[in-house]
């Protein structure tokens, strides 16, 4: 575990649509220092003239009729004004993804619409070499509620921007499931804008991939917003799962709750969790708590976990952070085994239990079931190795 203060305040970072405004990362920069730069392949290209994706990733959108689905051209000069309005890229790869995605998908849940079925978007990588890029905007208008599941499977070298805008009193649960094949590389920038009295539950589940790096950034468009950022990851040998969260509290009486849990197993399994929370001077009455818990299931893994809370106002309702990394508890295993439960099954029970609280909080049966079976598969693979 590491613990230090970022050299540069995250809110002060460069934001631009032009990848050339960012230097190619070397791995020493604060925001890249944990990332295996050498494994990012074509996402680090220095050829920025009209970048274009390999087309390896296709999106399949299944949405109830109430949802408006648009595919808009996304080339210079013809850019839809809605794109980039929630958040501009904050690093070179995100800017490259913005410039390189030919079309963007925009999903709009019109005002005062309650979806009774989840929207399911499936990104499938067919393994074509070369980087591909994506751009998705989810707009849940005022007074509406929706559940959106973003599923990622197959193989790809992929970078994308996900913009999420939730209008006043809107309610969105958005689950990003990263179930890539073991050779996939995916860098994903999430920009989330929470409207007045809106509620957003943002879930990231990282299971697959060789390198997965998700950077959710939250801003508030009005007072009373409520955001839960939940994350579950199961990091296998050789995998890199990185989650960098930034919650920018600028509005009064908002609430944020960050809860990430991961299990790691085997050689060179590496997880990174960075939790940056900034409470600005105007954000009085803020309630925030962030926690990352990691469970090391064997020798060999490395979990970096860095909570960072910066408070610029004297009037905070509550603020806290925690980070705990440890091994499976011998006494828990003993207790279960002393009731006749074999060791492997006892380990599975404890690990499943470790994730259960978060899993059940997602509150979407479709996702909970998928997660249950995905974790079962991970645990079976882990116990077989």
């Amino acid at each position: 575990m590491t613990s230090d203060v970022p050299a540069v305040d995250r809110s002060e970072r460069t934001r631009s649509l032009d990848p050339a405004d960012f230097a190619i990362p070397l791995g020493r920069e604060e925001e890249w220092r944990f990332t295996p730069i050498g494994q990012l392949r074509d996402l680090l290209t220095d050829d920025l003239d009209a970048p274009s994706g390999s087309g390896s990733v296709s999106l399949d959108v299944k949405a109830p009729n109430d949802v408006k689905v648009e595919r808009v051209s996304h080339r210079d000069g013809r850019r839809d004004a809605r794109l980039g309005a929630v958040g501009l890229p904050g690093d070179r790869v995100a800017a490259l993804a913005f410039a390189g995605s030919d079309t963007a998908t925009i999903l709009t849940v019109p005002q005062d619409t309650q979806l009774d079925e989840p929207v399911v978007i499936r990104a499938h990588g067919n393994g074509t070499p070369g980087a591909d890029f994506g751009h998705l905007l989810l707009h849940v208008e005022a007074l509406s509620s929706a559940v959106v599941v973003l599923d990622h499977v197959g193989s790809a070298t992929y970078a994308d921007n996900l913009e999420i805008k939730v209008g006043d009193q809107g309610h969105l649960t958005v689950v990003t499931l990263l179930d890539w094949d073991v050779d996939a590389v995916h860098l994903s920038a999430h920009h989330i804008e929470v409207g007045r009295d809106a509620r957003v539950v943002h879930v990231v589940v990282s299971l697959g991939g060789e390198v997965v790096r998700v950077t959710p950034e939250v801003t508030f468009a009005g007072p009373g917003g409520d955001v839960e950022l939940l994350g579950l990851f199961f990091t296998d040998p050789g995998q890199h799962h990185e989650h960098r969260i930034f919650v920018d509290h600028s509005e009064p009486h908002c609430r944020s709750n960050v809860n990430y849990r991961g299990a790691l197993i085997g050689e060179r399994a590496h997880s990174v969790w960075i939790g940056d929370v900034l409470i600005r001077a105007g954000a009085v009455g803020t309630e925030t708590y962030e926690i990352n818990r990691n469970l090391l299931l064997s020798d060999g893994p490395r979990a970096d976990s860095v909570p960072n809370l910066e408070i610029e106002t004297g009037d905070v309702a509550s603020a806290g952070h925690a980070s705990v990394t440890g091994r499976l508890d011998d006494d828990q295993l003993f207790y279960l085994m002393a009731r006749g439960i074999p060791e492997m099954e006892a380990r599975r029970l404890v690990v499943t239990g470790f994730f259960a609280e978060l899993r059940d909080r997602i509150g979407v049966p479709f996702v909970t079931d998928r997660l249950k079976s995905a974790l079962e598969t991970e645990l079976e693979r882990a116990s077989a190795s």
């Binding site: 003993f334 085994m337 029970l349 499943t352 609280e357």
Partner: protein, 258 residues
């Protein structure tokens, strides 16, 4: 009839300062259908004996033997011991977050019985046993020992005892932290298990209070890491009147056990 036989057992516990001997030659035999009380002052090594029989990895058997009907228990893993018929009700049951009592009980029963209990019978069995222990049905949906009160933890241990039906049950201070009402509920549970005639019960206790409700066949006084006196129920009465002073003076001074 099944017998657990402990012979000249020496056990050390791993501490930060290295291995520390706790048990110094324990001899004890208990058979199914019998009830023994193992009494002694705090720090005499009673819990160490319980954990050593159950196979806790922190306790190291340095010499002696534990056998169940002649089969070497020390060669068995923790879960094998439980499936062989041994049960330890723990003084401090462990919280297992995210694992419901229901799931835990069913998994344990499946392991111990060798097959999954039939759902309909099982649900009824659990409900009735919980009812006898005055446990709210909602209890089954909670996570194992998480946020349980002292009394709830002890009832939960009893619930497991009744459902898993071991041949030898060691109950480590099952009476500690219970008010009189809860003590009666727990004692009734123990007596139901005894009435089957199929379980040998070893009650480890510091106090004689529970022995008013659960009558032991034999009483063993434990001090300084071994049994220093044996007798019938009358020995418990003597201890109630006199306390442990005469044993403590003799053995604890040299043992330093805990």
């Amino acid at each position: 009839m099944t017998s657990l036989t402990i012979k000249d057992l020496h056990v050390s516990v791993e501490t930060d300062d290295g291995a520390r001997p706790i048990l110094r030659g324990v001899d004890l035999t208990i058979s199914s259908g019998e009830t023994h009380a193992l009494m002694g002052p705090n720090g005499s090594g009673k819990s160490t004996l319980a954990y050593a029989v159950a196979g806790h990895p922190r306790y190291d058997v340095t010499s002696g033997s534990i056998t169940l009907d002649g089969v070497d228990v020390l060669e068995m893993s923790i879960d094998e011991r439980a499936r062989a018929g041994l049960f330890l009700a723990m003084q401090y049951p462990v919280e297992v977050p995210g694992v419901s009592v229901t799931n835990f009980l069913r998994t344990a029963a499946t392991a111990v019985r060798g097959e999954a209990p039939k759902v309909r019978h099982w649900v009824k069995e659990v409900r009735e046993t919980m009812d006898q222990l005055s446990m709210d049905p909602a209890f089954a949906e909670r996570n194992v020992n998480e946020g349980f009160s002292g009394g709830e933890k002890k009832r939960s241990e009893l619930l497991q005892l009744e459902l898993l039906r071991p041949t030898i049950a060691i109950l480590d201070e099952i009476d500690s932290g219970l008010d009189v009402d809860a003590l009666k509920v727990v004692s009734d549970g123990i007596n139901r298990v005894r009435a089957t005639g199929e379980t040998g019960v070893m009650l480890i206790t510091h106090y004689t209070r529970i022995l008013r409700y659960v009558k032991p066949d034999q009483v063993h006084v434990f001090a300084g890491g071994r049994i220093v006196e044996r007798g019938g129920p009358e020995l418990a009465e003597a201890l109630e009147a006199e306390g442990y002073e005469r044993y403590v003076g003799r053995d604890l001074a040299s043992a330093g056990a805990n």
